[in-house]
Every structure is written in structure tokens, then in C-alpha cells.
Subunit: 475 residues, 2 copies
């Protein structure tokens, strides 16, 4: 079997090797599109379960809006159409006839949802309106990369409408908290929370907030965004309500999304030269049991291993057994390490005799000899340990690759020779932000809520800094 | 508030009134498309949960394939392209450029999945391959009806590949059983199971099997289909495997689907002049608690009602409380009957004193006075009773509107003056099937596995019948 390129040799190549060898995806015969294979889709289902529960617990309800958006809808919000027009695919014929008005395939649904909200919202009693949609969206990107940037991808998009700007901003930030909780505690990925600079905000938003994660090559990946729209879309789509004081007022809206690019983040944050490493809370299989032994004893071992599996499964552990006889244990060890299963449980005839099992951690490689009587008690704690350890490792990596720069040459040097994020002061001028990009290749990621340090001067012009900003190369 | 048209007055109008008043959907600003509003989408989520669990338990795995299908793919299976071509929407431009090859929006995914299966299947070890996809699909229909026939709809489509025809046929029928279990036991809708006639089978299939349900206006609704493809798609897409005997062989494939049209079936089978009636197993809310009483006592009642809600919820009942003070109990009673909640729990100051509650069944209108101490024990059984009763009522209706005809005039009379399904003999000739449609307006639904009666002569030509067939007008 083909070897995986090492991360140090070629990180991009390592990434492609891993996702294909781990059977997460395949390239589709349509430009920039991929097929989510069962192991990849299962990861997305795990993300969906966790997010969907959180959305419902915070009062959002799911709905489904059309894939097609009439061309005229995009014209209604000027910045929005400018931002998305270059990436739209157009349906021009259907049912054997040329359409009178072209239909875009949705790149995001603010426009069509805005249109529907305008019909649904009549009175202050109809507010807040808090809707989420699970859907496929399409953006015809020039350069694509599996999971991270594909022509079609899967995501959730939340859309809410409120009576006051304060309530809408509160929603925007509550969702950023929700995303942070999901990404840090379930995916074990530490993030920097903050606000996007005007040039990086969503097309049509007043403010965009983001959580930014660091991949193992030091590049940034935007792991979730939450947008405060003010009344921009309300005015464009005439979303008005009759208030208690009997006057018509525009609503304030928000939107926010997390997509299948999270799969790319999981892989690039936790993966290593052996392959994937999945955080236990999101791993479809948490424990893989591999029976070992000479042919004549194997049946007894497998019978015993099946019992262990059933008992573990009853305690809620997601456990599988691989009892295929025509494949060697060594091959299986490599395979499940490649696929990122957090714990391998080995059991052979001698273990049976000693009433013990061997547990091997994917994150550290550590081998634990556990008395069979303690197994059920030990596994949940072990999974928790692995989850915490994976988060800590990712955080250590992130922190040790987060730098501070006071001069543009210094930042350029860090970005070129080292890797990671660079914190710098910024005067607030677009031109200085552009200079950073030109000189270093890094773009502003966000203006962190809690910067490790506050920088007094703009890294480009030296004038007083309005903001302290994270810069990095990004996916 | 606008009254719902009665079923006897105008069934089609009743249907539209109910789905809008019950807030299940709204019309979208794109031809033939609807918006699934939260209450409607929640019903679909309930269907998804039940089906998804069954698919996984029977060894299927979810995956996701592209929305776009290159035009050339459709050309590969002749019957398939003829069947679907007239309904395809085409993307001709994307990212500001005209595409070299037009891309269809998937109406179903046999072609693109066939292409991928051909790459994934190498050896007999890769078989069977059993995949399911949850997705949106588009068919540009001339006449549309919310849920039942919309330009875009949501569905699941299963696709499997096997080494033998016997195994593939077994899969096809196993899925028909799975659908039957879901539709009869969860949706409380009785179905006739059988095989489609050649003219009604899926474009490209060898055999199509269906389950057919009867709506309250006597029309048929195809509630699920399962197709045995033989090697048609295997040959078209070169799905071959190396067998144990070291020769290359084509696989045998199946596909099967259930869509959001099930929502239409639930409504048209169980609904009445009061509105929706949801079977408890699929109802998002099974019990609605309405506190009653004069303003000064209401707080005490609501506190008590909240406790009841929490206790019921803990036993797994899906229960909500409507404690809004500015809306009268009478209005709420009507509203939750309209929305089809299976059980209403009324509680007022006198009930508090008597330590009892009042339960009102949506299916029968029956009022039950239940001692509070027995409530938790009584509710699950009551929900089960309602579920069974709804199935029985639907089955009685269906059976009493299932007729037998021996002459075409007789069938025409039944279809015209009465309603329902008509069982008739058929010689197997296309021309006779067409005559039935011309003379009666009914089409063949399926050739039932267990016909209530076997008819010896073709209802059109009088020659010996090859099959006994259900005919009906259909959605």
C-alpha cells in the first residue's frame, strides 16, 4: 500500500494522501466537487448532531428553503451581489424551455430567506424569528481543496430577525459562543474569537465575527462565522413589523454558518504522519477491538472479544470489532491508526488467561494493560483523557506558533521562515491592511476579543493602532 | 380567522387550507417550489430519524454525492435519459463563464453514483456495497402540489450493488418491507405492496416495486418505491468486479427512495375537517398542555402544569405547554386540533383540587378524566391506542373503498361515482392498460403480492389475465 507523505516533507500532499487513504472522500466528475464517502459523511453527521442539539436548545427551529434564487433577488442588496456574483452557477433552462429569469444556485440564503421573512413577520409578536437550515450550497471557486473549499459543500445557515439591534448583536455573539463550545469541546480545536476587519466581513453584513483555528502548517482556517446585518437586508427585502406603538419598523437580522470544511480542520489540526486522529467525542468509532492469536485459538478469542464489545456498547461507547481472519493484526493496527480511531483494544489468548486487555491510545501511542474487570470503568475516562490531551496538544502548538510583531519586516520574516499567526497593531486603514498582504502574504484573520497583548502602533504606518489584529496565511 | 374548507365540499381546497393554516409550508418565489416551515420540516425530521435508523440497522451507510450531473452521464442509459430528460433543469453558466458541458441538477442519482461505484468496486470483496443519500432533488414538473409534487423536494435514495441477481432482488424486497414497516407502523398508513407494470416502472429499472396508500379522497399515493436494476446501470457505467474465479463480471444494482411527499400522505390519510391529525409516533408534539382558569388562579395552575410537563417529558413523552395568557383556551383547543397534536391535556383550578387532569384525544374527541397519580402510566398506553386506532380507521376506510371490477364500464362507474381503488384482471398488454386510463382516468398502481381476489380475465379485452392489478386515480 502506498505510503503517506510525511507532514514535514509536504503538508498539502500529506493532507490529500490522508483523506484518500482514510477513505473520507473521492473526487467527483464535476469541477471542484467531491463525494463524501461513508467515513467522511459519518464525521459530518457527528458534527450535525452536536450543532443541531445546541441550536434547538437555544430556541432555533429548522426549516428548508429553495435551492434556486431568482436573479433579481441578488440585485436587492448591493454589497451582497458584488460579493457573490462572481461565484454563482446559473440555471438558464429547465423542463425543455429557456427560463424568463435566470435562477442562481444558492451560495447562501440571506436573499430568499429575507423574502420569506418579510411575508412571515407582521407584528412584534412574530419576533424574534430564529431559523436554521441544513443544506447544500454552491460557490464556483477558482481553486478548490477537498473539504476546505469545494464547489458544492454542506453546511448549516442560521437566520434570525429581531426587534432591536442589541438583541440581534447578542444573538450574533451567543452563536459565536455556541460555535466556540462546539469546536473547542467537541472537536478539541482551540480558536481565537474576534471580529473581522471591514475588508474581510461577509458581503452585506455590518459586522462579522469569526473563530479562527490554526492548522499544523501554521495556516489559519476560519472555523465558523456569525454576522450582524443591522437593517441592511431588512431594508433590501422589506422586512418590517408593526411594533407595540403601532408604527412599522425594520427588523435587525443575523446569519451564521458552519460547514463541512470543519472536517478539513479536524484532519489538519489533529492528524500526524500515521494518518487521522479523531477526537473521541466526534469519532464515529471510539474503540476498535482487534482479536489476535494463532488460528486454532482465534475462535475462542473472538467469542470473548464479541462479549467485550457488547458490554462496552451497552455503556454507550461507540465500539467495533474487526475479526476478519484473512487480514493480519499488524495491518489492522496501521489501518485504524490511519483512520484515527482513538483507542485500539488488543486481545489474545494470553490476555484471556491473564484476564486483561491491552488498550493503545492513538494520541500518544501509550499501551495500557487493563484488568478485564476494570475495563468498563476505565474506557470512558480514557476517552475523556484523550479528548483533553488532544485539545491541550493543539493549544500548545497554536500558542507556540502565535507571535507578536512590531514591524512589517519582522512579520514578513515570521511568516516566511517560521509559521503561524502574527499579532500586530493596525491603524484601521484599508491601505495598511493591503500592504501587510502584499509584503507578507498574510491576511487579517480577526480582531481578537482577548488579545494576548495590546499593540500601540500600526505595523505598517506606525500611527496609533485602533486595533490589535491576528494576521496569518489562511485556507 | 379563515375557516378550513370541509373535505366533502372540496378535498383539494381542504388540503391547501390545512397545510397553510397548520403552518407546514409556504409557497416560494420559484415556480413549483415550496418552503418547508418549521412544523413541516419537523415532521420530515421525524421521518428521517425512523428511516435512517432502519437503513443503518440493515447495513447501509450514508454518503453524499454532487448535486450536478454532467449531461453525458444521462446519455449512458437510454431509458433513463428518456424518462428524466424532459424534467431536467440545466446549469449552463458558472463563475462568469459558459460551461463546456451542461450540468443537470440531479433528479435522482443513479448515473453519478453509478460512475463512482465503478471506481470503488474492484473485487468481490467490495460487495455488497450499500449506500444511502439524504438529498434535495429537482424535477421540473408541469403541475405541482405542495409536498406531493414540487420542483425541488427532499428525499433519501438508496443505491446498492451486489454479485448476484438473487441478492439484489432480495435487497429490493427487503427495502420494500422496511418501507412498509415505516409507513404502516410509524405513519399509521396501510399500504398495498406490489410490483409496477412495465409502463409505470422507473426509467432504467428491470422491476419496480411500490407501496400504494389511499388518500381520503380515494386517490392513490405512491408512498415508496424500490427498484431492481438488473445489470442495466452496471453495463451503462461499467460497474465490474473481479470475482473469485478471476473473471470480470458486472454487478447487479438496486435503488429505492422515500420523499417529502410522505408529509402529504400523512395529511391526506389522517386529516379531517378540524385539520391535521398526526400519528403519535411521528408527531413532534404528542401532548399539549393547556392551563385554564381565571387570571387570579392561573399562576398556581401554570406552576402545577409545568411540573406535569417536566414529569411527562422525563418519561420520554414529547410534551409542550402553551401558557400564553393573552390567548383564550378555546382558541388554543382549536389551534392544536388544527395542528394535529394527538393529546390535549387540560388543567384548571378545579382539577388541581380534585387531583386530576382532563385528556382529550385528537382522533376520537373523547374526554378522559385521569387521576393525576395515574397520569404517567396512562399516557404511553393512550398514545399507543391512538396510534393503533388511526391505523385501523385508515385501514377500514381503505378496505371499504377497495373494489373489484370485471368490466371496464363497471370500473369507469366506480371511479366516476364512488371513489377508491379498483382491482381488475389484466392480460399484460400495454394497449389494454392504456384503454383503462382513457376510459376511466385510473392508472395501474401495482400488481399486488397478496390480492384480495384473483381475477381470471382482462378487464379490457377479456382474454386470460396474466395479472390482477390495482387501478386508481393517483397523485
Amino acid at each position: 500500500m502506498q505510503k503517506i507523505t510525511s507532514q514535514s516533507e509536504d503538508f498539502s500532499r500529506w493532507y490529500i494522501d490522508v483523506i484518500q487513504r482514510a477513505d473520507l472522500m473521492d473526487y467527483a466528475p464535476v469541477r471542484g466537487c467531491i463525494v463524501f464517502k461513508p467515513d467522511g459523511y459519518e464525521l459530518w453527521e457527528a458534527c450535525q448532531r452536536e450543532l443541531d442539539r445546541r441550536f434547538k436548545e437555544t430556541g432555533h427551529r429548522n426549516a428548508y428553503f429553495p435551492l434556486f434564487i431568482p436573479e433579481s433577488f441578488f440585485q436587492k442588496e448591493k454589497e451582497h451581489v458584488e460579493g457573490f456574483n462572481p461565484e454563482l452557477p446559473w440555471v438558464t433552462e429547465a423542463g425543455g424551455e429557456k427560463l424568463e429569469e435566470r435562477l442562481a444556485i444558492r451560495p447562501t440564503s440571506e436573499t430568499i430567506i429575507g423574502h420569506m421573512f418579510a411575508e412571515w413577520i407582521q407584528s412584534y409578536r412574530d419576533l424574534p424569528l430564529k431559523i436554521n437550515q441544513w443544506a447544500n450550497v454552491v460557490r464556483w471557486e477558482k481553486r478548490t481543496l477537498p473539504f476546505l473549499r469545494t464547489s458544492e459543500f454542506l453546511w448549516q445557515e442560521g437566520h434570525t430577525a429581531h426587534t432591536t439591534s442589541a438583541e440581534a448583536e447578542e444573538e450574533t455573539l451567543m452563536i459565536l459562543d455556541l460555535y466556540t463550545d462546539f469546536v473547542e469541546n467537541i472537536l478539541a480545536i482551540p480558536v481565537y474569537r474576534g471580529q473581522k476587519t471591514p475588508s474581510e466581513k461577509f458581503a452585506g453584513a455590518v459586522n462579522t465575527y469569526s473563530i479562527e483555528a490554526m492548522m499544523k502548517d501554521g495556516k489559519a482556517l476560519q472555523a465558523g462565522t456569525s454576522h450582524y446585518m443591522g437593517q441592511n437586508f431588512a431594508r433590501a427585502f422589506d422586512m418590517k413589523y408593526l411594533d407595540k406603538d403601532n408604527t412599522l419598523k425594520y427588523v435587525y437580522t443575523t446569519s451564521w454558518g458552519v460547514s463541512t470544511r470543519m472536517l478539513g480542520a479536524i484532519i489538519m489540526v489533529h492528524g500526524d504522519d500515521k494518518g487521522l486522529a479523531l477526537p473521541p467525542k466526534v469519532a464515529p468509532t471510539q474503540v476498535i477491538i482487534v482479536p489476535i492469536g494463532p488460528q486454532k485459538e482465534l475462535e475462542r478469542v473472538v467469542t470473548y472479544a464479541n462479549k467485550l464489545r457488547d458490554r462496552l456498547a451497552q455503556t454507550g461507547v461507540r465500539v467495533k470489532i474487526d475479526a476478519r481472519e484473512d487480514i493480519s493484526p499488524g495491518w489492522k493496527f496501521n489501518e485504524y491508526e490511519l483512520r484515527g480511531v482513538p483507542v485500539r483494544l488488543e486481545i489474545g489468548p494470553r490476555d484471556l488467561q491473564n484476564e486483561q486487555v491491552v488498550l493503545v491510545r492513538r494520541d500518544t501511542g501509550e499501551k495500557l494493560f487493563v484488568p478485564e474487570s476494570e475495563l468498563l470503568n476505565r474506557v470512558p475516562g480514557l476517552l475523556q483523557d484523550i479528548q483533553s490531551n488532544m485539545y491541550s496538544k493543539a493549544k500548545d502548538f497554536r500558542d507556540s506558533n502565535s507571535h507578536v510583531a512590531r514591524h512589517l519586516t519582522e512579520m514578513a520574516e515570521i511568516i516566511r521562515d517560521r509559521r503561524g499567526f502574527v499579532l500586530a497593531g493596525w491603524c484601521g486603514e484599508d491601505s495598511c491592511e493591503k500592504s501587510v498582504k502584499q509584503e507578507t502574504g498574510a491576511t487579517s484573520r480577526n480582531i481578537p476579543f482577548d488579545p494576548p497583548e495590546v499593540l500601540p502602533a500600526c505595523i505598517v504606518c506606525g500611527k496609533p493602532a485602533k486595533h490589535t489584529v491576528w494576521f496569518a496565511k489562511s485556507y
